[in-house]
C-alpha cells in the first residue's frame, strides 16, 4: 500500500512538472517575461533589476529550473492588470470557489446516490421511470443553461432567491466564508444547484446501473436467502460494491467541476477563481492564467491521489504491491 502511494505521488510530481513546463513555455515565449515579472508599469531600473535577478540572459534549462524554484515558492509574477502578485489574487478568491464546489459535490453525491439506489430497487415503476427521464434531462442540459433557467424561475419569476454575488460574508482568519450568514447561504443555493445538477444526474445514472448489475449477483441472492433485513442487503452488500465506480467518477469529475465552476461563477457573478480566470483571459493577463493552471493542476492531482487511495480502501479485491 505504502509503495503504491509513493508511486502515485511520484507520478503526480511528473505530471506537475509537465504542466509547469508547458506553462513555462507560455510564460517565457509569449510576450516579454521581464514585463511579466516586473509588471507593466515598472520603471527602467526596475526592469533591469528584474532581468539581472531572474537571470533572463541565462540558458534555457537554467531558466526553467529557476521557474520551478520560484513556482514552488508561489512566485508567479504580478498581474498585469491589478499589479499585485498573481498567487495572492487567486488565493484571495479560493474560499468562494471551494465553498461553492464542495456544496455542489455534497448535493450531487447525496441526492445522486440516494435517488440512484431508490430507482434501482424498482427500475420499471412509473415514478422511477420519471426520475430517470429527469436524469436524462439533467445530463442533457449544459450547466450554463441550468444556471440561467434557475435564475429565470427562482430569481426573476418567483423572486425567491438572489442570483448575484455572494451576499454577506464573515472573515475567519484569512478565510472569507459565506456559510455563516443567512444572506450568504441564500446566495449559495442557486449556484450550488447549478454546478451540482449535471453531476447529480451522472451519479444517479451510475449508481442505478451499478446497483442493477450488483443486485443480480449470486452473493446478493445468498444475502436475501439468509434472511438479512433489506437495509443490510441493500446498503452493506450491494451499495458498497456499486459505490466503487461512483466514488471513482466523483474524483474523476473534479476537473469537470473546476471547469464548470468557471461557467457557474460567470453566470452568478460569484467572486471566485473561475470568474477571475475568465476576466484574465479576456484581458490576456498571463501571470494570473499560468498561476491558475498550476494551482488547478495541483488541486486536481491531489484529489485524484486521495480518490485512488479511497478506492483501494473501498475495494478489498485490489491489493497494491
Amino acid at each position: 500500500m505504502l509503495t503504491y502511494i509513493i508511486r502515485r505521488l511520484i507520478q503526480g510530481v511528473i505530471v506537475l512538472l509537465a504542466v509547469s513546463f508547458i506553462c513555462f513555455i507560455i510564460f517565457r515565449y509569449t510576450g516579454d517575461p521581464v514585463l511579466t515579472l516586473a509588471g507593466r508599469y515598472a520603471t527602467f531600473q526596475e526592469r533591469e533589476e528584474v532581468r539581472r535577478v531572474f537571470g533572463l540572459d541565462k540558458p534555457f534549462y537554467v531558466q526553467y529550473v529557476r521557474f520551478i524554484y520560484n513556482a514552488a515558492q508561489g512566485r508567479f509574477g504580478k498581474s498585469y492588470v491589478s499589479r499585485v502578485p498573481a498567487l495572492g489574487l487567486i488565493l484571495e478568491r479560493l474560499p468562494a470557489t471551494v465553498e461553492l464546489a464542495t456544496s455542489a459535490v455534497f448535493i450531487s453525491f447525496c441526492l445522486g446516490v440516494g435517488l440512484g439506489v431508490l430507482v434501482s430497487l424498482k427500475p420499471y415503476a412509473m415514478r422511477n421511470r420519471l426520475v430517470m427521464a429527469g436524469s436524462l434531462c439533467g445530463i442533457s442540459i449544459p450547466t450554463f443553461l441550468t444556471g440561467i433557467l434557475l435564475i429565470m424561475i427562482f430569481a426573476v419569476y418567483l423572486g425567491a432567491l438572489p442570483s448575484f454575488g455572494r451576499g454577506e460574508t464573515v472573515n475567519i482568519g484569512y478565510w472569507r466564508t459565506g456559510l455563516l450568514t443567512w444572506s450568504g447561504i441564500s446566495h449559495l443555493i442557486l449556484p450550488a444547484f447549478t454546478l451540482g445538477m449535471y453531476q447529480l444526474a451522472v451519479l444517479l445514472r451510475l449508481t442505478r446501473a451499478g446497483m442493477r448489475e450488483v443486485l443480480g449477483e449470486e452473493y446478493i441472492k445468498t444475502a436475501w436467502s439468509k434472511g438479512l433485513p433489506p437495509r443490510k442487503v441493500i446498503f452493506k452488500h450491494a451499495l458498497r460494491n456499486a459505490l466503487i465506480p461512483v466514488v471513482t467518477m466523483t474524483g474523476l469529475q473534479f476537473g469537470e467541476l473546476i471547469a464548470f465552476s468557471i461557467v457557474t461563477e460567470t453566470i452568478f457573478q460569484w467572486p471566485g477563481m473561475g470568474n477571475l480566470l475568465l476576466t484574465s483571459i479576456y484581458e490576456t493577463d498571463q501571470p494570473v492564467i499560468v498561476t491558475y493552471i498550476m494551482l488547478a493542476a495541483l488541486i486536481i492531482l491531489t484529489i485524484n491521489i486521495v480518490v485512488d487511495i479511497l478506492y483501494a480502501v473501498l475495494n478489498p479485491k485490489i491489493r497494491y504491491a
Binding site: V263, L278, I289
Partner: protein, 295 residues
C-alpha cells in the same frame, strides 16, 4: 433463425424501443433542418443586408408586437431567433460530428496500437489519458482556447479534439486487450497473419462496438461543450451563429423579461442533446451483454 440485416436482432430491438426511435428521429430532424437552413429560414441572420436594427427585440409572432417573418421573435441585433437557431444548429452539428470523426479516428488508431503492441507506447498513451481525464475535456479545451489568439469553428474543433481523443484511445485499448485473448486471434496468428492484417481484419472490427457507444455519447457532450465555450466567449467568433452565444446574449435580457431570447435556443439545444442521449442510452444497453433488457 432470422437472417440478414433487416431481420437482425439489433434492428428488431430498435423497432421495439420507442425511446430509441424518438431519439434518432429528433437527431435526423435536426440534421435535416441544419442542412436545409438556407432554404427554410425566413432570413439569413448573418447577412447584414437582410438584418435591420429596427426589428430588435421583437416578441414571438403570437404575442402583441410580434411581426412576420419573425416566428419566434428577434434578438438585440434584429436577427430572427428561429433563423438563428437553424444556423446555430449547423455550427453545433459541424463541431460535434467534426470532433467525433477526427478525435474518434485518431483515438481508435492510438488505442488499437497501444492495446496490441503494449510496452512504452501503451504506458505513455495511458498516462496521458489519465492526466487528460483528470483535467477533464471541458477544462482543457477552455484553457487551450484561452491561450489561442484566433477564433473560429475550426479552432474550436481542433481544441476539443486535442482534449478529447484520449476518451476513444482508452476505450479502444480496453476492448483490444479483451479481444486479443480470443481463440480466433491465436488461430489467425497460427495461420501466419501479419501484424497489419491482424490489426485491420481481426482486431479492429471485433473491438470496435464499444466505440459506437462512446461516439454517440460524445456527440452530445461535444455539442454541449461547443455551446458552453461559445457562451463563455472563447468559442466561435461573433460573426458565426451559435446556440451558446445566442443564450449568452439572451442572458442580458433575462431580467427585462425578454424570455424568448433564452428559452427558444435553450430548448433547441436541450432537445438536440436529449435526442442524441436517448439513442446513446439504447445503444449502450443493446451492446452491453451484462444487462438483461426488461420491458
Amino acid at each position: 433463425m432470422r437472417k440478414g440485416l433487416f431481420k437482425s436482432k439489433i434492428l428488431y430491438d430498435y423497432f421495439h424501443d420507442p425511446s430509441a426511435i424518438a431519439g434518432s428521429f429528433i437527431l435526423v430532424v435536426f440534421i435535416l433542418l441544419a442542412i436545409l437552413a438556407p432554404w427554410i429560414a425566413p432570413q439569413n441572420p448573418y447577412d447584414l443586408e437582410k438584418v435591420s436594427l429596427s426589428d430588435f427585440l421583437n416578441p414571438p409572432i403570437w404575442m402583441e408586437g410580434g411581426k412576420p417573418p419573425f416566428l419566434l421573435g428577434t434578438d438585440d441585433q434584429g436577427r430572427g431567433i428561429f433563423s438563428t437557431i437553424l444556423y446555430g444548429c449547423r455550427t453545433s452539428l459541424t463541431v460535434g460530428s467534426g470532433v467525433v470523426l477526427i478525435a474518434g479516428s485518431f483515438g481508435i488508431v492510438m488505442g488499437l496500437l497501444a492495446g496490441y503492441y503494449g510496452g512504452l507506447l501503451d504506458s505513455v498513451t495511458m498516462r496521458m489519458a489519465d492526466t487528460f481525464f483528470s483535467f477533464s475535456t471541458t477544462l482543457m479545451a477552455f484553457l487551450l482556447l484561452g491561450l489561442f489568439k484566433q477564433r473560429g469553428v475550426l479552432i474550436v474543433i481542433i481544441a476539443i479534439c486535442i482534449a478529447d481523443w484520449v476518451r476513444y484511445a482508452r476505450t479502444m485499448r480496453g476492448s483490444v486487450l479483451e479481444v486479443k485473448e480470443e481463440a480466433y486471434i491465436t488461430a489467425a496468428k497460427a495461420t501466419g497473419a501479419g501484424d497489419f492484417r491482424l490489426l485491420i481484419k481481426h482486431l479492429l472490427p471485433n473491438a470496435i462496438p464499444p466505440i459506437f457507444v462512446v461516439m454517440a455519447v460524445d456527440l452530445a457532450v461535444v455539442i454541449m461543450l461547443e455551446a458552453t465555450l461559445s457562451f463563455l466567449g472563447v468559442g466561435v467568433p461573433l460573426t458565426e451563429p451559435s446556440l451558446g452565444m445566442m443564450i449568452a446574449i439572451g442572458k442580458n435580457y433575462v431580467y427585462a423579461g425578454k424570455w424568448w431570447l433564452v428559452l427558444f435556443p435553450g430548448s433547441a439545444l436541450i432537445l438536440l442533446v436529449v435526442g442524441i442521449n436517448l439513442f446513446a442510452d439504447w445503444l449502450r444497453e443493446e451492446l452491453n451483454p451484462k444487462i438483461e433488457r426488461g420491458r
